[in-house]
């Protein structure tokens, strides 16, 4: 029933899942996302229908078979989360973050913001840069943008407790500045929870 290529692909996915497992989420299972259901022969609505020219990229199989879910990652693996921007970034971004840190230290958060945005154009989903941008926006007194940026940073953190703790602290301060004491309290609790998930302390 199972053709060899499918099984092999799944094998690769399993390996991939294990290597990415440290990040807490699993890659979407694409081989089994096969869609040749009951109405597969129905004409597509918008298209003058299937030309048949496309080499099916991901739905080449008629039927996918149940595969046991991956097990949850043990806590100990959180140690593998990167803590510093240098661990996950190219040299261009590292050098820009250094520039930004210097500008922020010298009381020029506006410059730091511009430099970090330049870094994000190079690595748009670098969660460390987003987290730093949120902090610097807070320093610049832009509490509303600081909160939104920390929110974005959290959504890219992929469970990294070091980043999440930073982002929640930024959120807590931003909310306090905006007069949202209850929200600030909640954010502080989140920051504490993230900190507890850190293995080494920081």
């Amino acid at each position: 029933m199972v053709s060899a290529p499918v099984a092999m692909t799944r094998g690769v996915l399993v390996v991939l899942s294990l290597t990415l497992g440290a990040c807490g989420t699993l890659p979407q299972e694409r081989t089994t996302g096969t869609v040749t259901g009951p109405s597969s022969s129905a004409p597509a609505q918008d298209e003058e229908t299937a030309t048949g020219q496309r080499q099916a990229p991901r739905d080449g199989t008629e039927v996918a078979i149940y595969q046991p879910p991956e097990r949850e990652q043990p806590e100990a693996l959180t140690e593998q989360y990167p803590r510093k921007v240098e661990e996950v970034s190219g040299p261009a971004v590292v050098s820009l973050v250094k520039q930004a840190d210097q500008a922020a230290r010298e009381g020029r958060p506006e410059t730091a913001i511009a430099v970090l945005e330049r870094a994000l154009r190079i690595e748009p989903r670098n969660a460390f840069v987003w987290a730093r941008l949120a902090e610097v926006r807070l320093q610049a007194g832009e509490s509303q943008q600081a909160a939104a940026t920390a929110d974005r940073a959290n959504s890219l953190a992929r469970g990294n407790p070091y980043l999440e703790a930073r982002n929640w602290r930024t959120l807590a301060d931003a909310r306090r500045q905006q007069g949202d004491t209850q929200g600030a309290q909640l954010a502080r609790q989140q920051a504490e929870q993230a900190r507890l998930r850190q293995t080494g302390g920081d």
Binding site: M1, T25, V35, Q45, D46, E48, A64, I65, A114
Partner: protein
């Protein structure tokens, strides 16, 4: 009697002297005011985003060479001057140009850029020990913002003017510039002789100072009164200012060409206009041609009268040589050189008018129109010249091909499109119509058309935001619908195949295949009001009419508005207001306004992740599967087709990992084209995105989402024994709890499971 006459004469003389003195004082005042605050009206200069080079960037040597060509860098054997480069298979050696950015000046650098198979490996500068982490290449000037009829110029300081140009101007226009005091009697005498001989005015005899005065104030007619006024003012000018200041003003003021409604003033802008390079990079032949134009920019216009211009240029080159400004060898090479005038030069207001239009509108919220047109602001934008060029090319080629293949009247189709960067909302490219250079109706911003099925993702998002009611595998009913509206009309939507009714369909499938009836029912179930709210949360600024037909796209939107909404989906629910600008500085480079990246939470992450999952299915098996005729099959992407009643509008909106693209194809007179979203807009979208190496869509699964395997027949949780399984994302806590009948731990199935595990 006599004494009376004498008194009268004296009084007249005195009055005359006083009046004359007053007149001179008045002229003095005028000329000093005009000159002291040499405040030319300088239109704002608009720049594309600079190319950033860094180790690890995915780019090959050919691509870098192409970008340098676009910037007017010259390809040479060994680059030594700014604005030149050499390329081999895996290396580019270049000398960059110095440039004043918003955050400081970057000097000219000699750079060796080395590539490997994956991109840039290192960027080495002689005398610098380690590879540069990051360097910028001076950005492309893409236009200026000026008044309807205006003078345009690029101001040069005296020290920025190359010696050959300065000396050449003096040699050709006013040999005795450094020895006269504003007017030259010798020059006038020589001119008079020449004019008398010819019987008409053939020679001006004006000094550079006089020419400057004339350009400042006066018209070109040469009557005696004006001549006298001009001479007086020239002398006054020289009393107040030194020669270098006068020469600098002349170099910036002189009229050197006309570009549509824009007058080209000064050598700085003329160098860009004719040769697409800064004045510092002009060679002898080019310098001579520009000096020729001072004599009569339209008479010697090199684009219109190349022979005439060449004759004059060679004459000027001869003067250069005879005076020792250039060597015999340079002279020989220069006269042998073609005119070398670029067909579209710096582009000025011509290059990418639709994008500059977006920039202008955005700026007008913060700046007065007059300031934009006269203060010489420097505007740094988000435009990616490569993306823009590919966009224009694929719209042009795509429409021609579609017209030819489908027997559509040639030239009848129009198009509009935007390409934005997913994680910042920056507009990378924009097409306002089929002709990129045409400065007309900007369809990307101003053409509001019904969006058809592009509305559907927002209907399904609304439903998926209610996980207690809907998930991706929910059953929807695709069945006929007839609604009497409050105004008495009847709404009776049909499927794309008007007779088709698909019955029970899964939710994700209804979106992927764009079923109208199922969607119309779903829209009613979640209420049109909630759909309208979702659209606004995605960034639609106007409140759409909350009618049932909204679910099927009965709302007129511009491509720009659609792009805003889809970019919010693309970034996982975060809304980045679309922008065309990064920074604005004044003429000296001092920062005025930063248009920083803004981010807001727009749509909830989890339902957005689910909606985008279904939009991926559009490309995998749904109405958008044609994209993989152009795009590498391993590239994941999400998108949606849209077609409106009678095939009037064809849409495709979609995104990969790094870019969002929205394309519209239709006719300006709103007549049917016979094209669907898939046949009209999708090919243009796909060809453009393929050319731009669209990155794979790669969302991070939110922590509130869980992937569950579902038995296709029962729609319940799958287990070991299940054969037809689909793996779907669900919002945590709302996946089916019950196990499918096939999931049971039947031993016979267990053996099969053991074999399967062997395979894995």
């Amino acid at each position: 009697m006599r004494s009376k006459l004498r008194v009268a004469a004296l009084v007249t003389l005195a009055v005359g002297l006083v009046a004359g003195s007053l007149y001179i004082l008045y002229l003095d005042q005028v000329i000093r005011e005009r000159f002291a605050g040499v405040r030319w009206a300088v239109p704002s200069k608009v720049f594309a985003a600079p190319l950033e080079l860094y180790p690890g960037k995915t780019m090959d040597a050919q691509a870098l060479a192409r970008e340098l060509d676009r910037l007017g860098y010259r390809k040479v054997g060994t680059p030594s001057k700014p604005g030149s480069y050499a390329q081999s298979g895996r290396a580019v050696d270049l000398v960059s140009r110095a440039f004043q950015y918003w955050d400081g000046r970057e000097p000219s650098r000699r750079l060796f850029v080395r590539f490997d198979a994956s991109g840039i490996r290192e960027i080495v500068e002689p005398g610098v020990s380690s590879s540069h982490a990051l360097v910028r290449i001076d950005p492309l000037a893409i236009g200026s913002i000026h008044a309807a009829r205006a003078e345009d110029r690029l101001l040069l300081r005296r020290e920025e003017v190359p010696e050959l140009l300065a000396k050449g101007i003096i040699l050709v226009e006013d040999r005795h510039f450094y020895s006269h005091w504003g007017v030259s009697l010798r020059g006038i005498a020589r001119a008079m002789v020449a004019n008398i001989k010819a019987g008409r005015v053939v020679q001006g005899g004006s000094t550079i100072t006089q020419q400057l005065v004339r350009n400042f104030f006066l018209t070109l007619d040469q009557n005696l009164q004006r001549k006298i006024k001009e001479a007086i003012m020239a002398i006054l000018l020289e009393l107040h200012y030194d020669k270098e200041e006068v020469l600098e003003a002349y170099i910036n003021e002189i009229f050197l060409g006309q570009d549509g409604s824009r007058a080209i003033h000064g050598f700085g802008l003329a160098a860009g206009h004719y040769f697409n390079k800064p004045v510092s990079e002009l060679n002898a032949a080019e310098t001579a041609l520009l000096i020729s134009l001072a004599k009569g920019a339209s008479y010697y216009n090199p684009r219109r009268h190349p022979e005439r211009a060449r004759g004059r240029r060679d004459l000027v080159l001869r003067l250069f040589r005879d005076d020792g400004l250039i060597t015999e060898e340079t002279y020989q090479r220069a006269v042998a050189a073609p005119l070398g005038v670029e067909s579209d030069g710096d582009g000025g207001a011509v290059r990418y008018p639709a994008f500059v239009d977006l920039v202008r509108r955005q700026l007008e919220a913060d700046y007065r129109k007059e300031d934009l047109q006269s203060e010489g602001l420097r505007i740094f934008t988000t435009l990616d010249p490569h993306a823009q060029a590919e966009l224009e090319r694929h719209i042009r080629d795509g429409l021609e091909r579609i017209e030819a293949q489908r027997g559509i009247e040639e030239g009848s189709l129009e198009a509009a499109a935007l390409i934005t960067r997913t994680e910042s909302g920056e507009v990378a490219a924009l097409a306002g119509g089929r002709e990129g250079r045409y400065r007309g109706f900007n369809r990307a911003l101003d053409a509001r058309r019904p969006i058809g099925s592009l509305a559907k993702p927002f209907v399904y998002h609304t439903a998926l935001s209610q996980p207690e009611r809907f998930h991706l595998y929910s059953l929807l009913e695709d069945k006929p619908l007839r609604l009497e509206m409050p105004n008495g009309s009847v709404w009776e939507p049909k499927n794309y195949d008007a007779d088709a009714v698909y019955g029970e369909v899964r939710l994700y499938e209804a979106l992927a295949r764009s079923y109208n009836l199922a969607t119309a029912h779903l829209g009613l179930a979640v209420t049109p009001k909630a759909v309208a709210r979702t659209m606004q949360a995605a960034g639609l600024e106007r409140a759409p009419a909350a009618l049932p037909s909204l679910a099927l796209g009965a709302i007129d939107l511009s491509p720009m508005e659609v792009a805003q909404m889809f970019s919010t989906l693309a970034s996982g629910g975060f809304r980045y207001p679309l922008t065309g600008i990064r920074e604005v500085t004044d003429a000296q480079g001092e920062p005025l306004t930063r248009y920083g990246m803004q981010v807001e939470r727009g749509l909830d992450e989890a339902p957005t992740y689910l909606t985008n999952w279904a939009l991926e299915q559009v490309a995998i098996f749904g109405t958008g599967s044609g994209v993989y005729r152009w795009i590498e099959p391993s590239t994941r992407l999400a998108g949606k087709t849209g077609t409106t009643d009678g095939y009037r509008d064809a849409w495709f909106a979609g995104f990969g990992g790094d870019r969002v693209g929205v394309f519209w194809v239709g006719r300006d007179d709103n007549q049917p084209t016979g094209l669907s979203g898939a046949s009209g807009a999708l090919p243009l979208w796909s060809a453009t995105m393929a050319a731009l190496d669209l990155q794979s869509y790669d969302p991070f699964m939110p922590s509130s989402v869980t992937q569950v395997q579902i038995d296709r027949d029962s729609g319940l949780r799958a287990g070991e024994g299940c054969q037809k399984v689909i793996s779907l994302p669900f919002i945590e806590g709302f996946a089916p709890e019950r196990e499918a009948p096939c999931a049971g731990s039947d031993t016979s199935e267990g053996v099969r499971g053991w074999f399967q595990r062997l395979w894995q």
